[in-house]
Symmetry: C2
Amino acid sequence: MDAKVETAANALTASEIAAAVRAGRLTCEAVAQACLDRIASREAAVQAFAHIDPAQVLATARACDRAGAHGPLAGVPFGVKDIIDTFDLPTEWGTPIHRGRRAGRDAACVALTRRAGGILMGKTVTTEFANLHPGKTRNPHDLARTPGGSSSGSAAAVADHMVPIALGTQTTGSTIRPASFCGVFGYRPTHGEHRMHGVMEASGSLDTLGILARAIEDIALYRDVLLGVPPEPVVAVARPPRIGFCRTHNWGQVEPATQALVEAAARRFAAAGAAVSDVRLPDDFALLDAAHRWISSFEFVRTFTWEIEHHWDEISDTLRQGRIADGLSCSLERYLEMQTVATSCRQRIEAVWDDHDMLLAPAAFGEAPLGRPAFAGAPVYMMWTVLHLPAIALPVFAGPAGMPIGLQLLARRHDDRRLFAGARWAWRQLT
Amino acid sequence: MDAKVETAANALTASEIAAAVRAGRLTCEAVAQACLDRIASREAAVQAFAHIDPAQVLATARACDRAGAHGPLAGVPFGVKDIIDTFDLPTEWGTPIHRGRRAGRDAACVALTRRAGGILMGKTVTTEFANLHPGKTRNPHDLARTPGGSSSGSAAAVADHMVPIALGTQTTGSTIRPASFCGVFGYRPTHGEHRMHGVMEASGSLDTLGILARAIEDIALYRDVLLGVPPEPVVAVARPPRIGFCRTHNWGQVEPATQALVEAAARRFAAAGAAVSDVRLPDDFALLDAAHRWISSFEFVRTFTWEIEHHWDEISDTLRQGRIADGLSCSLERYLEMQTVATSCRQRIEAVWDDHDMLLAPAAFGEAPLGRPAFAGAPVYMMWTVLHLPAIALPVFAGPAGMPIGLQLLARRHDDRRLFAGARWAWRQLT
């Protein structure tokens, strides 16, 4: 990437942009133009956007300047994964079936972002139905590699300084994984906290929004905006956090270089005064991978009954032979059994928080692979998603090929603010 | 109502229609025509439908006849609450803001119904945004009275033999209440079991689908169709069920005549061999009414940010001064505190099922009131909705004014099939 961008408006964080705009040091138009310039120079290579209308962006920015930009995200350009409805751009879900689809209104999360002063930059590329079949986006750190999926365009656009923040979603690892692969912060909130109105449902028991950003402060700010509450700053931790190092049953499938980096982080946290202890979850927590597989696929095929009935030929082989085949083969009895497993584990994970403020785990199995696979490697995300825990990926490592590798931190349900405080402490120990 | 309809095709249950169609004893067209005739004679009075296209209904029915009608709902006309998307009719959410809105695809539940052979009869009237402000529908048993809300048109259309089954939704009591007021079976499934894709979100933590029908067998059949699983018949109970009579903390607000009817039902069940015992929930379960109020309103105002920002003048005073005012005044701390209350109660209600197969409770505070109030009287639904339990309303009583009054039965989460079996046993004791 071009070093020069580091000083341009498009390279600022959302918090910095909003403060500068509110103080009159930057106009919405100047910020929007800087982001559009960056996109103009890089989009042919990165291909982060599914839809963008520069004239509309600039018109909106000028209107905000005229009206007096205000709000916690005053003048902040944002990207929106193309499974989330916007009244002024199509929302196509990454499939030719819904080419040109117009929702006629904003999703709740988009309306909340605009109300806070945000300026929609464009729709970012998603994999097909936010599942495995990849879109066109490439990893900005190495165009030969995948950005990860399914929030591919949102992660790539944030990493490449096209926008400071972007909306994604997560049903498996669709925010944490591309954040790790692209070297940005990724946040999956506590399941259920945000309204999903206008967001394509994939598997409702597991779906959440996701946020991609280049600063923890931006994640915290944007979460409050999406909750529709007055923003609160990230607080300083009173003491180094109690950290549970949870390798999980999938540790053996994590690449050795990534294992070593996560181990080193744990030692660094301990050296900085954190109480770091190994957490071994009960053996039956390994069932959560199967719970994820069957719950997500059972729900997915029912969600998309209309598309399966009327547009079978336009669905990728990847999806037909993967999640759809799984979902069609899953009985109600198996689905309900897996929901029971999930409920039980959600209740029993609570005991972990008696002794720990956060859990530490890998954010991905390793570096972004070559080629276009949206998903690859060990399923290090599934159990956390099924557990409904808030998670954040920190872009702290570089792997053997020089590509980013993230670290994952998790906290108790609804303890998202404490997670941000702890994550900022952890981030400062490693950078 | 006209006694003659009892022998016409429109007065058959869904199970009877599907069996007759599959056996070649009835055509889809004949059934559709019978329902259209009934609607033609009664709609001016009842006003159950928001959108209906008789020519399209007949064309679809004839096409099904030509193709050879099959499936568990072969040839069964169904109504769809107008907050649920259909590709061939508008979906307007009961508000002028979305007049003429076209979704371009079917909601998951609609696609599943059509795949099973169902024939969409039309969109049924909803209250504004499935909240309190009433639509035009009147109670078919007494046009001077409310049908209840928010699934007003679905309940009235089923009660008046316009369709055998209809889709509703429930966030508070929006299926159980109109079922009770209109004298039909109403079913609220275990929260989370059905895909909500294409269904307007109101308050996602509480929203479910709902089914209105004139037979328990139809409820069970339709539930399986909506789950996308092979239908299983309602089984006979091995022994009379163990029934917990749960008056709840709102009992004092239930009308005396209704209290007496529910008490009489409990005695009747005991006389028929059921083990009936009083269940008194812990005192803090009374907090669930407040939990419902704050969770639903906090979520509602965020869900509808776009409408509130852009169409404030087209929102009713009822909604602005009710749920919207509540939602705007609710802090994140209160919302999360109420979610904690809800989670705790959901876990602790589990102990009830050690000794009981079902709970017995009022389905409404009394008979349908005069006038148009969609909601009225004691909040006898809220706690059950927050607890995420499956519930069924049985149309077993007539009140002092001769209007229907329902009985509510509830079961453990995901025990919906056992609930149907027990409900059929209970129904047979009372009729």
